[in-house]
Assembly symmetry: C2
Homo-oligomer: 157 residues x 2
């Protein structure tokens, strides 16, 4: 049994395929699974620039958009939570939404939650199949001290 698994997800097809493969190959139960979604602060700034016509004060703007995105992410997570729990054979599920640079938040949460494993898809949301790895996955791999299970999420040839 794995004590505690961190599953960072961008809700992409790749991330869900990673869980499917984990499920196919792992017959043991997981005590706790921490599902983490990181709202990319870089993308948040891009959105800010897009929405700035409708707002007067920049701070207010930032706060509003952040809150809306967090709410949306939490909703998406809750919709997937039961499926994740079942697929991972996890006894408990914890859901987290953070704002920041994705790989930094993943590494931080892994330490804070003292997980025994980080489950990463080889490719995330960008899905550039010509790339060898998603850049977030590569950065997490370099920075964390925790074991990382990389699941290939390319479609089989």
């Amino acid at each position: 049994m794995f004590r505690k698994i961190l599953f960072p997800t961008d809700f992409s097809e790749g991330a869900m395929r990673a869980i499917q493969r984990f499920n196919r190959d792992n017959e043991s139960e997981v005590k706790e699974c921490v599902i983490l979604h990181v709202i990319d602060e870089g993308k948040l700034e891009d959105m800010l620039n897009g929405y700035s016509y409708f707002y007067k004060k920049e701070e207010r703007e930032m706060h509003d958009i952040e809150e809306k995105l967090k709410e949306k992410a939490m909703k998406e997570m809750q919709e997937r939570a039961e499926k994740c729990k079942e697929m991972m054979k996890a006894k408990n599920i914890k859901m987290l939404v953070r704002v920041g640079i994705p790989y930094e938040e993943i590494v931080k949460v892994a330490e804070e939650e003292n997980v025994s494993l980080i489950l990463m898809p080889s490719h995330g949301t960008q899905g550039f199949s010509h790339e060898l790895f998603g850049s977030t996955t590569m950065r997490v791999l370099k920075k964390t001290k925790k074991p990382v299970l990389i699941i290939k999420t390319h479609k089989e040839e």
Copy 2:
């Protein structure tokens, strides 16, 4: 329970630390563990050049050295087999010695044996701690379609 794990080992300290960490974090049993040692054909050629004073025929030379290295590797493996079995909580152990390019053989054996996971230390025998990853680990990660569990084997700061 993991069905079948491939554990490529160069008998280095890093590789043994990877097993220790795997053991610490994983409470489930492993049905079968395939321990693989690859004799690097590049290094074999280097040795050939070194020993060529003592031999007349190059083919004979190659064959002799290869046989001796295989024998030595198998012996080292047998010495570690019981410890690996115990640490991995593995029901069965299979030992393989191959000659070739390490990452290529690892990827090949993973397919041939249809393993459910490849367990790789982040750093192998070279132990250049300034490097982010061992080159064999990096190449396996890029080439295989199997899930890869990367265990950080740097000494904790």
